[in-house]
Amino acid sequence: MYNKKVMDHFMNPRNVGEIEDANGVGEAGNPHGDYMKIFLKIRDDRVEDAKFKTFGCAAAIASSSMATELIKGKTLKEAWELTNEDVAEALEGLPPGKLECSVLSREAIHSAINEYRRKQGLGALPEQT
C-alpha cells in the first residue's frame, strides 16, 4: 500500500518533537481525526528549524516528516508556497485516499507561519482557495 519512501519516513520520522523557543506554532486537523502540530524557529525570514507532533495514520506521519524536511532552510515565502502535491511527490506518491494527509502538513505550516506573522505585527496571509 505504501511505498518504501513513505514507510521510511513513517518508521524513521525526521524532526519529531517540539522546539522550546519556537516563534511560530501552528496546528491542523481533518475530519478523519488526523491532527498535526508544527513548531518553527524562524530567524532572518528563514525557517531555521522545524519540528512536528502528529496523531494519525502512516501517511500523516510521513507527510509531517517530509514537510518539515522540505521547509528547513527555506525562506518563509518558499515555505508558504509548499503544496501538498510537493510533499506527496517528495514521498514518491501516496495511495489514493491518503493525499489529504499531505494537505494537513501544508495547513499546519501555514498556521505556524501566520502565528509568527501575527507576533511580528504582520497580518495573516490568506489561504488560496
Binding site: 505504501y2 514507510m7 513513517f10 518508521m11 520520522p13 519529531v16 496546528e27 475530519p31 478523519h32 481525526g33 488526523d34 491532527y35 498535526m36 502540530k37 507532533k53 502528529t54 496523531f55 494519525g56 495514520c57 502512516a58 501517511a59 500523516a60 506521519i61 485516499g97 491518503k98
Partner: protein
Amino acid sequence: MGEKRFVYMDHAATTFTKPEVFEAMLPFLKEHFGNPSSLYSIGREGKEAVETAREQLAKALGASPEEIYFTSGGTESDNWAIKGTAFARRKKGKHIITTPIEHHAVLYPCKYLETQGFDVTYLPVDSYGLVDPAEVEAAIRDDTILLSVMYANNEIGTIEPIHEIGEIAREHEIPFHTDAVQVIGKIPLEMEKKEKNVDMLALSSHKFYGPKGIGALYLREGIEIDNYMHGGSQERKKRAGTENVAGIVGLGKAIELATGNLEKHNEKMKRLRDRLLKGVLKISDCRLNGHPEKCLSNNLNFSFEYIEGESLLLMLDEMGICSSTGSACSSGSPEPSHVLRAIGLPPEIAQGSLRLTLGDDNSEEDIDYVLEVLPETVEKLRVMSPFYKPENACKK
C-alpha cells in the same frame, strides 16, 4: 529487544490451511478432477467426495446432511439467507430485525433490502456489544419476516445470547439467521438440540484452517427461501454452479479437525489469551473492548489512547506481528469501525484500536514477543502524538 519473530495474530481475518486439509484436497485438484454432475467414474468420485464432506459438516453441526448447502463462503451464505428469506416472504411482511454490529456481509444486504422497500430495525447493543433479548422481543412487529443476529462478533469477540433470541424468534414464528463465521472450532454447535431455534447459519472454511472460497449455509428443513444462484440443478436445485469439489473436501476435513479438537484448542487459546490480556493491560491508557467473559476464546480487542490504529498496525508489521485494527485510515473508510462506534467508543478512542486474534500456530514465545514489542511501539507513537502528555498518563 530479542530476535525478530514472525507472529501471526489475525486468525479472525483468516487462518492457514492445515497440511491434513491440503493433503485431502490435492487429489481433487489432480487426478479426481471430474465434474460431480458427470456420470462417468471420475465425476462420481467427485460427487461422493462432496457428499462425504456434507456428512462431515452435518455431523460437526449436529444437523442432517439434507440441511447443508455449500456456497462460496460466509458472505454468500449471509446474503442468501437474508435476501432469500426477504424475497420469499415479502407477501407476509417487509420488516427485518438485525443489529448494528453485524459483519458487512449482513449489514449491506440489509441496506440493499431497504432500497427494495423493506424496513430494517437495527437493535442497540450495550457497551460490551451484547444484544438484549428483551429488545429483540420489543422490536418484533406483525410484519416481521426475518431476525438476524450474529453468533459472535468478528471484531470484539462478544458472544451473543443466541439461544434466548432463538426462543423468541420461534415463539413468534420468525425465521432466525445467525452469522456463525467466527464460531466454528470455538463453540460446539448442535443444530438439533442447543441451537434448535436457529433456522439458518452461515460459516466459512478459511476461518477454521480450511481453504478460502468455500463455505456453507445450514438451512433448516422447511424454511422458505428463494434461490440466490440460478442455473444448474446442483445442491438439490437450491444453489446452482459446479461444485468446488476440492474446496468442499477441504472444508469437510477442516471442520472435522476443528470440532474434533475443540476442547484442547480452547484451553490453549484461553491460556494464551489470558496472559496476553494481562500483559497488554499493563500499558497505560489502554482498554479492552468486548465482553471479558462472554467472548471467543481467541479474541482480544484493545483501544490505546493518543495513537491511531493504522500506525500501530504498520509498526507492528515491521516487527513481524500481523494484527488488525478498526481504524478508519486502514480501511480507507471515513469512519472508524462501526462495531466500536456501536458499543459507544468515541471516534478518537475507536481510532486507536487493535485486534489480536490467536490461533493454533501461536505459542507462549509469541505472547512474550508481543508483550515485548507492543508497549515499545505504543510508546514510540505516543511520543509523536500531540495529545499525549506522559505526566497525565494513567499508571496501572
